[in-house]
Amino acid sequence: MRELQELLRSILSRHRELVFELARREVLERYAGNALGSVWAVLTPLLTMAIYVGLFGFVFPARFGGDESPWLAAALILSGLVPWIAVADCATRAPSTLLAHRALVRQVVFPVEALPAKSVLACLVPQIVGTVVGLTIALIVAGASWMLLLLPVLWLAQIAMMFGLMLVLSTLGVWLRDLREIVSFLANIGLYVAPILLLPQIINGLPRPAQWIIAANPVSHMVWCFQDTVVYQRFEHPWSWLVFPFVALTLLFVGAKLFTKLKPAMGEAL
């Protein structure tokens, strides 16, 4: 608890401006040298979403005889896909976050925790774009309801999960160099073990063990929470509302503890 408090104090108050500046630079640098520059920060998530929604919302259900309307399917997919992209992006980048800034990690006065914090922040940029698009579609298809007021809570929980994940993976990444490959493999698979592209009627048609695997995936619960809020607009998956915040906070605690414990040893290991 103390570790977490200190981390949050450092990144949210003492070094807030540093975190923002680092995040801004990361977003700019990621696309530096491209003709379209940081336009890609907006374009990439839009294209990804368009492809997934097109394939899994319109093409496949038509083949498999889905009974949801394509636009409802699109809203469902987007409500889960948007946070998923951010989480997966965050997890994939995490193992190399500290490695990429060895010089800073070794500094005497540099607050190392600013690095995972800025990476999380940079991963949220596509989500802002996606949320605008997703919400627009959802509002047209499902209309507005008081449930939407819960969105900020979900975002907070999602950010907590991302930061926890980032802390754990970036810390371990210092010592386990293969972590990057493992995580990016898992992130690729993860999309298909969660109710993101697999619409409800597809999941219902799956054998029991497969359904269990999906329910065992913590990310599934995040997705269900977002779907409940944006599309169903009722607590369709009440359990998820317990599991998701619990997982997010646990990750955050474990991450803060791990990171604080290993911080002194990082300089040597890099």
Binding site: L18, E21, A32, Q107, V109, W175, L262, P264
Partner: protein, 419 residues
């Protein structure tokens, strides 16, 4: 110092690191599978109080806990117990080029560097022109950092670190890079800062810099304060300890008659080669009382002595000495010929002392002695030991620190009237 509040007070600070064999071990411990680490005491009960405007050197070999202490002072690490009270803002001279992105312009890097040091964006922007002026970069300030020479990069880092008007400035070995003029400018600026009441912590392996520039010094060894005192005393004690160890290591090393041999540790490796017809057994400097010393005072009387044993019959043994600076500049060298001393004849196992009595006109600093033994009729050395002995000269010669020799100079002004 007692009336005013100290700038920095470190009370009973200890820090332990937990060392795990692998991250997996730590995960197991975190989940609750018992203790799986070894503790390592990086700092044990450190008590230091530093007043405003004091310049304090922190000395100690690598791993003694200097960086850990500085990180705790700077607030990037938290101590396990004890208290650190800092009255004011801390800044540090960044390692060259870190926090600085090569593709950004100097101006943009000032912003980043300042943020890394804990300044707010507003403050940095207000100071920017001052930093630009101090760095003397002129029009280069708007060019990418990577196009700068290393001297220019150093100037920018230095200027940025000073911009936040620290009350405590940490200078961590950063000055060893950069040209001499720049180093001098840094030290001159430190003097100005100190006059304004800035406290400076200087971490350095250069004992001359510590002795000259610092008021006090703290010597850390294995996480404990071994000594505090005036910079001159502490740095001399420290050097004596380091040199003593080096000598002890040399004494323990097997006495090889020839070929190459290197000594590990903190001292420069010795290079040794030769045919093995003679063996330079021991090299030392004796003071006027005949005691072996490694710490020499300026202008003192000393004798450089080498003990050489013949392995086979030698008709005309020459023994030569050379004294070189750390950078390898030969300051002085001698062998029997210039003084028309006849070479010696030795039977196997006979031992001779070659001695050079001298007045120490070396300027303060570190020097290495090289000794060679050869015969006029042989084309190779019998034995040559490069940098076999490290000596340190201390003392005040009334000259600038970059001097190599003490010319026994007297400085004066004489008014010659108006012309």
């Amino acid at each position: 110092m007692s009336e005013i509040k100290p700038a920095l007070r470190i009370q009973g600070v200890s820090k332990q690191f937990e060392i795990y064999a692998s991250p997996a071990q730590m995960l197991l411990e975190l989940i609750g599978f018992g203790t799986r680490h070894e503790s390592f005491a990086a700092l044990t009960d450190i008590n230091v109080e530093i007043g405003r405007g004091e310049v304090v050197g922190i000395v100690g070999r690598n791993g003694a806990g200097k960086s850990t202490l500085l990180k705790i002072v700077a607030g990037t690490l938290t101590a396990d117990c004890g208290k650190v009270e800092v009255d004011g803002r801390i800044s540090a001279i960044l390692e060259l080029g870190t926090g600085f992105h090569p593709d950004y312009t100097g101006r943009e890097n000032i912003v980043m560097g300042g943020l890394c040091l804990g300044m707010s964006r507003k403050e940095i922007l207000a100071k920017q022109e001052e930093v630009v002026a101090f760095s003397e970069l002129g029009e280069f300030i708007d060019r990418p950092f990577r196009t700068y020479s290393s001297g220019m990069q150093a100037r920018l880092c230095f200027s940025t670190a000073l911009a936040c008007e620290p009350t405590i400035l940490i200078v961590d070995e950063a000055l060893s890079v950069g040209d001499v003029r720049f180093q001098r400018k840094c030290f001159a600026h430190f003097e100005a800062l100190r006059a304004r009441g800035t406290t400076i912590l200087l971490v350095s392996h250069d004992m001359n810099a510590v002795a000259q520039f610092c008021d006090r010094a703290v010597w850390l060894e294995r996480g404990r304060v071994v000594a505090t005192g005036t910079a001159k005393e502490v740095s001399e004690d420290y050097l004596r300890a380091m040199l003593g160890e080096a000598t002890a290591a040399a004494a323990q090393a097997p006495n090889m008659p020839a070929f190459s041999q290197t000594l590990g540790g903190d001292i420069a490796p010795e290079m040794r080669y030769g045919s093995g017809a003679a063996c330079i057994e021991h090299v030392e400097v004796l003071d006027s009382n005949g005691n072996a010393v490694e710490l020499l005072q300026s202008r003192g009387q000393y004798t450089l002595r080498a003990r050489v044993r013949a392995v086979r019959n030698l008709g005309d043994l020459h023994v030569g000495f050379a004294v070189r600076t750390v950078r390898g500049v030969e300051v002085f060298s001698i062998n029997p010929r210039p003084q028309k001393v006849a070479p010696v004849e030795l039977a196997p196992d006979e031992v001779v002392h070659a001695e050079v009595a001298f007045t120490n006109y070396l300027a303060p600093g570190d020097y290495f002695v090289t000794v060679g033994a050869w015969g006029l009729n042989d084309d190779a050395h019998h034995d040559r030991r490069v940098d076999v002995l490290q000596i340190h000269v201390s003392g005040d010669i009334g000259a600038l620190p970059q001097s190599l020799v003490d010319l026994h100079a007297k400085y004066s002004f004489t008014k010659v009237g108006s012309l």
